[in-house]
């Protein structure tokens, strides 16, 4: 009925068409782009379904990725695609969508246009879905594996019997094992709708063998239908298929939880390692640790803007303009790699400044160091507010950190894999510094007995300064990473400081391996509880409760370190 109405509504539109030759796909797309009516747009796009012209996926993909622009003249709006490099005036060559010819001015000369001449052609999610349906059929033979996979899944889930022939034709040609599986699943799902019971049974056997998570809903629905029909063979076959899907789901959940636990543990570790040095080794109750993390995150934000269009920072009435490098593409995406060492340096410098100005007077007075660093943390938060505003700032994720590998239905997010590797590298680096360098030797000497080390000729002041700088720099690294998964704002440090102290205290103050083990234990426990209870709030409460009980049992944490620095 709905479609009939739409057809009636569209009829006058078609009548308005110039008579004669049918529209080319280019013309249809051009008309869809300039149309202001969402239904017309969708109908036009859907009419391209099944047509083989190569230009269709090219233009639809361009539209979806905001690469089709509307060029406005006085009389008309012309959809164009831009190409070539920008010249000195920022102008680019434009190609008309409707005929593939270069855009021309009144005199028939090719026209180069600049940014203010055009705007991006809009699209809605419903329209993108219509485009996707067209592209799905095209995508079945796409060289891109992900695209083929998605296309097959969408077609299968629609359970449309008319698509069986296309999928069957594709099956022997497909070389990728994942897409092959998806094709078999799609065919089986469509065949569940078949009238013939033997076909249904064969489909169920196939689904049991494949055991995909995506088939579970369809199987459950099928089970209710089979039960309604009281068909015992079908019920048994469906139950057996469902059972094998659920077994698979348990495995996915179990392995997924372990991976997520490791990733959360790595984040805690990166966060807490700096504190394990400033608090654990040096004995400074460093309440400003969270703000050192924020320094790292804001450095990442600055680097991002310097790689981009630049930034203006108001600072005590002065306005500091930093020009940008206006990079794009991979050069811009590289910003995060550059930001990592810079965050370390920046936070280390701030840490050294803090140590020289305040903390060096407080080594023997831990309670006062708590108050002083808490004050510093408030001051730093205000400075962030003055420089960057009290709102959170936007840090975008580079492409190489915003995808995932999905192996056997378990998601391995690139950012999560990165943090695990990152954490291991940092731990390894810190271990190298502490055990294989002369600075490490001095640090350990000073931390064990400051007075004695001093008597032996160690310049303890300098070692203290560098150690605090190292701890702060590590916090800066944590900040650079956190900008990829969470908020960057003036009070972001406050959100993490409790977790940091918790990790260090559970691991045993002054013991770096203890911090590593405690970070991973807390991470795994937290994720396991979330998975079992399915409630993050109660999960978090239980973790905290477990830690309180643990500290009742072992007040000094996992590993007890005897160090004079704590007894000074």
């Amino acid at each position: 009925m709905k479609y009939f109405l739409r057809a009636v509504f569209l009829l006058p539109l078609f009548l308005c068409l110039p008579s004669g030759a049918a529209e080319t796909p280019r013309e249809i797309i051009a008309r869809a782009v300039v149309s202001t009516d969402a239904v017309t747009q969708r109908t036009l796009v859907s009419s391209l379904m099944g047509q083989g012209e190569e230009v269709i996926p090219e233009l639809l993909t361009a539209w979806r990725s905001d690469a089709i622009f509307l060029y406005k003249t006085d009389s008309a709006t012309i959809p164009v695609v831009l190409s070539g490099d920008k010249d000195a005036a920022g102008a680019q060559v434009a190609t008309r969508v409707d005929n593939g010819q270069p855009l021309q001015d009144a005199a028939g000369q090719p026209l180069r246009i600049v940014g203010k001449d055009y705007k991006t052609a809009d699209h809605t999610s419903a329209l993108r879905r219509a485009m996707k349906a067209v592209l799905d059929i095209v995508d079945l033979v796409s060289p891109n594996r992900t695209k083929r996979l998605q296309a097959v899944q969408t077609i299968g889930q629609a359970q449309d019997a008319s698509k069986i022939a296309v999928l069957e034709a594709r099956l022997p040609l497909e070389t990728d094992p994942h897409v092959q599986r998806a094709l078999r699943e799609a065919l089986a799902l469509i065949r569940l709708k078949d009238a013939n019971e033997a076909v249904k049974l064969a489909a169920l056997v196939e689904l049991k063998e494949l055991s995909t998570l995506s088939s579970s809903d369809f199987l459950k629905k099928f089970l209710t239908e089979a039960e309604a029909q009281k068909n015992a063979t079908l019920i048994a076959a469906t139950k057996s298929a469902l059972h094998s899907v659920e077994t698979h789901r348990d495995v996915v959940d179990f392995l997924g939880t372990i991976f997520r636990g490791l990733s959360l543990g790595s984040i805690l570790l990166v966060l807490a390692l700096g504190l394990a040095i400033t608090f654990g080794l040096m004995g400074v109750i460093n309440m400003a640790h969270g703000e050192m993390i924020a320094v790292g995150a804001y450095t990442t934000y600055l680097v991002q803007n310097i790689f981009g269009t630049g930034i203006v920072i108001p600072f005590f009435g002065l306005s500091l303009g930093i020009p940008g490098m206006n990079l794009s593409g991979w050069a811009y995406q590289f910003y995060f790699v550059a930001a990592i060492p810079l965050s370390f340096l920046m936070a280390a410098l701030v840490g050294i400044g803090l140590e020289r100005s305040i903390i060096q007077w407080l080594y023997r007075r831990p309670l006062e160091s708590l108050l002083a660093t808490w004050g510093v943390s408030v001051v730093l938060q205000q400075i962030f507010k003055l420089m960057f505003g009290s709102n959170n700032v936007q840090v975008s994720s580079p492409v190489y950190l915003s995808g995932n590998w999905t192996v056997n239905d378990i998601i391995f997010g690139w950012n999560r894999v990165f943090v695990i590797g990152f954490a291991l590298m940092i731990v390894f680096g810190v271990w190298l510094v502490l055990t294989r360098t002369s600075l490490g030797l001095l640090i350990r000497a000073v931390m064990q007995n400051r007075g004695m080390a001093s008597c032996m000729g160690v310049r303890t002041e300098r070692v203290n300064m560098l150690t605090f700088g190292l701890g702060s720099g590590l916090a800066g690294l944590a900040g650079a990473f956190l900008s990829q998964i969470g908020n960057v704002g003036p009070s972001m440090g406050q959100n993490y400081i409790v977790d940091c102290f918790m990790t260090v205290v559970v691991g045993g103050v002054g013991n770096l391996p203890g911090t590593v083990i405690s970070a991973f234990s807390i991470g795994l426990t937290d994720q396991a509880l979330q998975q079992i209870l399915l409630d993050p709030v109660i999960g978090k409460i239980l973790v905290l409760l477990a830690i309180i009980l643990f500290l009742q049992w072992r007040p000094a944490g996992l590993f007890v370190t005897r160090s004079r620095s704590l007894e000074d």
Partner: protein, 418 residues
């Protein structure tokens, strides 16, 4: 501390103005503004103070209310609920304001309520809330659940969505909204197993809690996103999010990283407006949906004039603490603006500033053509208004996909959908 000092100065300056202008005191009417100008809520609420200052200036420039100029008494609720009650007391008992505009969180409103009822004062409340309340001392210009959440569900159903995942921050507004949504979805024939997020049942088997909740400031959304991914594996799924504030950032970053997109499984958020967008990563949010009674992108002369006037006011205002760069307009701001004009209309209709008479005028069904379209007051102290569904764009604005005209504001929804 500094902020408090500045705001004290501000109050002092206002008091001074009042004193200087006391000769013409008969020509002004005091109007209270009760928002958090410091603390965690300041980011959102300061915008509402700004828009109220703008509205008062605009009304005064046109001759005021019944010939009297509006004199704003601005106080700071400081994101602290008992402070809200204290300041409300100060406004009603000491300053004797004719009306107050204010509050953002539901809990601040609940704290202010007894003060208002004791003194028979009137508050205009502008921010989407959970309903289940109808005080004679509050006029709710806010979106009720049926002016935001249920239209979003209607939109999803029309788009062919079959599975709904409910997710929210752990406090009263998301929990109440999700319970109402659960009833609504069931009434629309969506089976219980197609509603994700989990349920809590009491001993009799009645569902007392629906959806997945995370605390304020939660940062780790891995497990939830993995669950949504499994939920959405069989297609036609969507997420209804009442996540609040900056927890949206880690959620959407995780969501995008796991490969879920607006095309495969869209998210509609009820707490992200243009104003919140200023601190969110645009790339991860593009294509996700919002649902409000106003978007800055509404293409109407009234809205264009409103946006331009507000920007012009921002450029020339000398008031302290007003941020001038990168400002946008959003639904709570426009509902504050509409509220002040509706109050003006009610006063003029009643011919008096007396609360009882103004209330009676409000209940009689006054209309105002605001930036978001026509709004009309109702007997139940709520507002009939248009509802829009929009899709987020990379520039932090919304492309409007669908609008519902003149939706009646209904606060009592629990148990309504059978």
């Amino acid at each position: 501390m500094i902020k408090k000092f500045v705001s004290l100065l501000g109050v002092g300056a206002l008091a001074l103005c009042a004193f200087v202008g006391s000769a013409s005191a008969a020509d002004t009417v005091k109007v209270g503004v009760l928002h958090s100008l410091s603390g965690t809520m300041a980011i959102s609420e300061t915008s509402l103070r700004d828009i109220l200052m703008f509205t008062a200036d605009e009304i005064n420039a046109k001759g005021g209310v019944m010939g009297k100029k509006i004199e704003l008494v601005i106080v700071d609720g400081a994101s602290d609920w008992p402070t809200f009650a204290e300041k409300a007391k100060q406004l009603t008992e000491q300053d004797k304001v004719a009306v107050t505009f204010g509050c953002w969180t539901s809990v601040s409103r609940k704290y202010v309520l007894p003060v208002l009822e004791k003194n028979n004062a009137l508050l205009f409340y502008p921010v989407q809330y959970e309903g289940e309340e109808e005080s004679q001392n509050v006029f709710y210009t806010a979106e009720a659940v049926n002016q935001q959440a249920t239209p979003a569900v209607d939109y999803y159903l029309a788009e062919g969505k079959k599975k709904f995942y409910l997710l929210g921050t752990d406090y009263v507004y998301p929990q109440t909204t999700n319970l109402v949504l659960l009833e609504y979805l069931l009434s629309k024939g969506v089976p219980l197993e197609n509603i994700g997020g989990g349920f809590v049942k009491d001993s009799s088997g009645k569902i007392t809690n629906a959806g997945k909740y995370t605390g304020f400031g939660h940062t780790d959304y891995q497990q939830i996103v993995a669950e949504i991914k499994q939920f959405a594996a069989s297609g036609d799924a969507c997420v209804i999010s009442t996540l609040n504030g900056d927890t949206n950032v880690p959620f959407f970053k995780e969501y995008a990283a796991s490969g879920l997109t607006a095309e495969t499984c869209p998210v509609v958020s009820f707490s992200i407006s243009e104003d919140e967008f200023r601190g969110l990563p645009a790339a991860q949010l593009v294509g996700q949906l919002g649902c409000w009674t106003y978007f800055q992108s509404i293409d109407s002369p009234a809205n264009k004039k409103f946006v331009a006037d507000f920007q012009a006011w921002l450029a020339k205002t000398t008031a302290t603490g007003v941020v001038k760069e990168g400002r946008v307009t959003c639904s709570p701001m426009v509902l504050s603006y509409d509220g002040m004009y509706l109050w003006k209309a009610a006063v003029e209709k009643a011919g008096s500033f007396e609360v009882d008479k103004v209330r009676a005028a409000l209940k009689s069904g006054l209309s105002f053509d605001g930036p978001g379209g026509k709004v009309t007051t109702q007997k139940n102290m709520h507002l009939t208004k248009n509802v829009y569904i929009g899709e987020t764009k990379a520039d932090g604005q919304f492309k409007i996909l669908k609008s519902f005209d003149s939706v009646y504001g209904e606060p009592w929804l629990k148990g309504k959908f059978k």
